[in-house]
């Protein structure tokens, strides 16, 4: 799967798509492949204040639970409620309809600290080399 070049990426495998002062956050294709079938996503409620680098929720597969980390600080303005009944969207369309939350950016400069598309792809190619052993 291609990694959208306009998105920015974290080391913990979240992506953020910034339009103006609003960012849409999700998990990358690499993350969903590592997780396996997603069965439940625990997301914050609208109005929650996110802090860059802190957990905003969890994603559960059958055998594991993992924290989801906020790429930026800001206020949650929308939550993808479709995931309640269809958590598998995170696997099927991780960069699109599998989005998690939309946030109003508190400090847009935080984006600069994140990886762009090509940097993220080379970052994970190191992992994928290990995986194939």
């Amino acid at each position: 799967m291609a990694y959208p070049p306009t998105y920015r990426y974290t080391k913990e495998h979240e992506w953020i798509d910034v339009k103006g002062e609003v960012g849409t956050i999700g998990l990358t294709d690499y993350a969903q492949r590592q997780l396996g079938d997603v069965v439940f996503v625990e997301l914050p409620s609208v109005g929650t204040a996110l802090v860059a680098g802190k957990a905003l929720g969890t994603v559960e597969s059958v055998k594991s639970v993992n924290d989801i980390f906020a790429p930026v600080s800001g206020e949650v303005i929308e939550v993808n409620t479709a995931l309640e009944g269809a958590p598998e969207k995170v696997n099927a369309d991780p960069h699109g309809t599998g989005w998690l939350v939309k946030v109003h950016l508190k400090n847009p400069a935080e984006i600069d600290a994140l990886m762009d598309g090509p940097s993220y792809e080379s970052y994970i190619s190191a992992f994928e080399k290990e995986d194939s052993h």
Partner: protein
């Protein structure tokens, strides 16, 4: 082996235990005995038990009929010595039994999902409170003072280091929860209201209005049931958010205070916050039905410090005994057992009230336990009863100092009419004899 791990002696393996806690001399045990001497030893100890006494003591542990069939089944090696059913492929019998237990608990309590069992009713209550705290994200808990004293103690132990604030709501003159006191304590910082029904005094304390009151402040209602047989006749607490149950009444002998079996039942929407094991029904790749442990991501071996609880087991054998017992009784049998409890307890009360000086303590409706006020201290009366081969009622003033001379009497289906009449006449003698004769 010691040298291969680099230890000089067995003592080295205990070096992390502080000196002052280490046993420095051998335990004073009798023996060593031969098999015959051991059998003789326990026969003598058994003779010291009140075998053949009739009991009118309840207070959270109930003397009910149980069939020998239960023992025959739970003592089968496949059940008695089997390990935890982590590997579903070789544990279908155990998992199915757990699934049936969970189903029965739901049917009895009117709830949608139940766990695979807890240690007992007291820990089920404490864990239900922690569950409510997680769901509602508040830290204040209102607990009925008529909740079993030991359950309240266990809850305080759990609350002490988890930042929960536990407040007691008094009981009214009729023995039920003081609704006025509850209303004034209910604010939007309350996580849960905890009520036992029938409560410690035997009175039926649950009614749907309690759920409405709790919900109006955004709090959850937790109902605790210590006498499971009551659910054979009393309307189940369907409107409660969480039910914490003690299952001892279902085929587990009182023994020496345990082992018993607890359970937590709740609404489907709270299932991810439910602690304890959960058995689930699933289908394999060929469409065949099977059972598994499910929603394991709640548990601490996956979620670690964020798990719903540190519990990583269940009371499997006791839960199986309860399941077998309930299957043997069936719906009709449990109802009939409950009806006998109700009528015998009410018969006993009527007879007791004929004794001069004896009056009813709390006049709200009751199931198989009630409170009478005696003209003499309960302990003195019980000493007399014991000499007659009768285990008497609980003296309530030990846990409720203001309830002096209040006795909590329990009558179950095991008491024959003649036992009840003997109890009443012995008690009459105990309260009318000149006191120096006691």
């Amino acid at each position: 082996m010691l040298s291969s791990i680099g230890a000089k002696s067995i003592e080295d393996l205990f070096s992390s235990i502080p000196e002052r806690f280490r046993l420095r001399e051998a335990l004073k045990l009798p023996g060593p005995y031969s098999e015959a001497e051991i059998i003789q030893y326990f026969k003598e100890r058994a003779r010291e038990s009140a075998v053949g006494y009739t009991s009118f003591l309840g207070a959270g542990v109930y003397n009910h009929l149980r069939s020998v069939i239960t023992d025959v089944i739970i003592q089968r090696g496949e059940f008695l010595t089997s390990y935890t059913p982590y590997q579903a492929e070789i544990s279908q019998g155990t998992l199915q039994a757990i699934f049936e237990f969970q189903t029965l608990i739901c049917q009895l309590t009117g709830q949608e999902v139940a766990n695979a069992s807890m240690w007992d009713g007291s820990t089920a209550t404490a864990e239900a409170v922690l569950m409510a705290e997680r769901i509602v994200r508040r830290r204040r808990v209102l607990v009925a003072r008529s909740l079993h004293p030991q359950y309240r103690d266990v809850l305080k132990t759990y609350a002490r280091h988890s930042g929960l604030s536990v407040e007691e709501i008094p009981f009214a003159g009729d023995g039920t929860l003081d609704r006025k006191a509850l209303d004034s304590a209910l604010q939007d910082d309350v996580a849960a209201v905890v009520v036992q029904s029938p409560n410690f005094f035997g009175t039926i304390d649950y009614a749907p209005d309690l759920a409405e009151r709790a919900h109006s402040s955004g709090a959850l209602l937790i109902v605790v049931v210590t006498e499971g047989v009551s659910l054979g006749l009393v309307r189940p607490p369907r409107e409660a958010d969480i039910v914490a149950l003690e299952g001892q009444s279902f085929g587990l002998a009182p023994s020496y205070g345990g082992p018993f079996v607890g359970a937590i039942a709740t609404h489907e929407k709270f299932v991810r916050q439910l602690p304890g094991r959960l058995a689930g029904l699933a289908y394999d790749s060929q469409g065949r039905r099977g059972y598994v442990l499910t929603l394991a991501t709640r548990e601490q071996h996956i979620r670690r410090e964020k798990a719903t609880s540190n519990i990583c087991t269940n009371q499997a054998l006791c839960a199986l005994a309860a399941t077998v017992h309930l299957a043997l009784l069936g719906k009709e049998g449990l109802r009939e057992m409950a009806e006998q409890n109700l009528s015998k307890a009410h018969f006993a009360l009527n007879e007791l009230l004929k004794i001069p000086g004896v009056r009813l303590g709390f006049d709200a409706p009751f199931f198989n336990e009630f409170t009478v006020v005696l003209p003499r201290p309960v302990d003195a009366v019980n000493r007399h009863l014991l000499r007659e081969g009768i285990i008497g009622p609980l003296a309530l003033n030990a846990s409720y100092p203001e309830l002096s001379n209040h006795a909590l009497v329990c009558v179950t289906e095991v008491a024959a009419r003649s036992d009840i009449e003997k109890f009443v006449s012995a008690l009459r003698m105990a309260v009318t004899l000149p006191q120096d004769r006691q």
